[in-house]
Symmetry: C2
Subunit: 319 residues, 2 copies
């Protein structure tokens, strides 16, 4: 199969390949869509009707919480239960991205060789169209391929990373013993997005204290009568608690209103983000091209015009 | 003076107040512009012709590097030399923002009482129109008031913080002994923006090693024939090296091409950022209003339409 990236029918052949379960076609399509190669939107339009059946799980937590090992064990358990699993690693230090110690990679070897598991790492900086959109696109391609559970692993720091994990159906927050202070710190950004808490490395001293901290935090912030998110203990390295975790992750949400609201918000965010991306590129292109920006910059340097008037003038007749 | 925020002439009276050197008017105008109260753009247009004479210095570095104490000493020395100083603190843990230990605040007391110094702290999250634009606006108001040197202190982590410091004319990077590894890590994001390096707490062991690390890094990255940024030693607590630092900061740049390129880039960035902000609000407002987004979201949930086609249709006739 000879695929050139410009011809329209080659996009179609890639999309066909993805649907037929061709792994190479999936990997190529992901790369070309990530690079925003001409025609990527048509490819995504063709992919879209074949999506919507995968369950998308976000896995976040601070560095060193054992997210990758946990992701590995969850994927392994899912495969045992007959699932087809996709993994998207947004953390550059993740073993999935090749950034970790050799020992980690060796331990996770079983995942890399399972034909039911497809792993893709994503750059964290400078992703065209934003990381969240890239995550959505990659998720959809995996979904159309036939992956019915997709795990998005991302380190829980930074606004971008939080945006990525917000594209998931359900978000799991990984904590570890000895991180009590961190839980307080994480509160603000993560509380609204976490649907499930996991205390990993629960065989270490201090696990019960972290559990108590999480419960206390949930108590403080939950509204009366609302279901609170589950809190589970695991030890990924010893393969403890994984079965229960996977069962919980795959169960239907106990809070269907929250799920519905979340889905609507996600869709609106995607529409706005695609729209803004499009308008951005249009704006930058248009005014770079015809020299208006250069002229405006000159006038600003000479203190002849202020930026607010310049922008108002540039946007005249546009909005 | 009775000021209401809605009437057009009250904006004018605030602007007049700022120009007349009324501190209360300056503080109010900053707040109202930060909050994007109706008419803020007209106020900024009126302010603009009175700006452009202040020197804007960015001060960045990791937490604990002593940026605030250094900022304090620099401001003190500037006042001694007859300057009017504005300080913008973007770091919420800065003593300027009230976030630090009592001891720090006490030590910095002299600054808080100097009439030549005006201090303003800025929220780091959720700033309307973005933190960089807020910094630009606040800087201009201080400039129009008559502050001829404006120090922007920001913690050197996070994309947002880096964007803020990029609005300065000249950026000073603060390092301390024992941070050799950090210098490596900081390289990527900060190298392009730092015009000057300071090794603070230079009385501690390891100062020379940090100096050597910085020189080594600069050697590796500088182009042949290009001037390399100055590297200075200070001990802010002992008031050592401050005079030399201030003299260097206030001297003309040795690299006028770099300064010119930087200025042009800053102006373009501001125009684009204001433009995008405007278009954003327009987009969100327009489609939220007429229910098109809600209808589009419904179609997406029912898997009837893909987001890419929805966005293309929404933007038809718009770009």
């Amino acid at each position: 199969m000879k695929i050139t990236k410009t011809a329209e029918n080659s996009w179609q052949s890639l999309v066909d390949g993805v649907q037929a379960g061709n792994i190479r076609a999936m990997a190529r399509l992901i790369t070309q869509v990530e690079n925003r190669e001409p025609g990527w939107k048509d490819a995504m339009k063709a992919i879209y009707p074949h999506t919507g059946s995968a369950r998308i799980l976000g896995i976040t937590g601070s560095p060193g919480a054992g997210k990758s090992t946990l992701t590995c064990e969850i994927a392994d358990e899912l495969v045992k239960r007959g699932h087809q699993v996709g993994i998207i690693a947004v953390d550059p230090s993740s073993p999935f991205s090749g950034g970790a110690l050799l020992g980690d990679r060796l331990r996770m070897k079983k995942i890399f060789t399972l034909k039911e598991v497809f792993i893709r790492s994503m750059a964290t900086r400078g992703t065209l169209g934003g990381m969240s959109q890239a995550a959505r696109d990659v998720t959809r391609i995996m979904d159309a391929f036939g992956k019915d559970v997709i795990l998005i692993e991302t380190v829980g720091v930074g606004q971008d990373e939080i945006e990525v994990v917000k594209t998931a159906d359900r978000v799991m927050m990984v904590c570890i013993p000895g991180q009590g202070d961190n839980i307080q710190a994480l509160k603000a950004g993560v509380m609204e997005i976490a649907d499930l808490y996991v205390v990993n490395k629960a065989d270490l001293p201090g696990a019960d204290e972290v559990m108590a901290d999480i419960y206390a935090m949930l108590d403080l912030s939950s509204e009366a009568g609302q279901p609170t998110p589950p809190v589970l203990k695991t030890s990924a390295l010893k393969n403890q608690g994984i079965k229960e975790l996977v069962t919980t992750l795959m169960a239907d949400s106990t809070d269907s209103n929250r799920q519905k609201d979340k889905r609507e918000m996600q869709i609106k965010e995607e529409i706005f983000s695609l729209m803004e991306d499009e308008v951005f590129r249009h704006i930058r292109h248009r005014w770079e091209e015809d020299g208006e920006i250069a002229e405006a910059a000159r006038q600003m340097i000479e203190q002849k015009k202020d930026p607010y008037s310049i922008v108002a003038k540039l946007l005249q007749g546009f909005i």
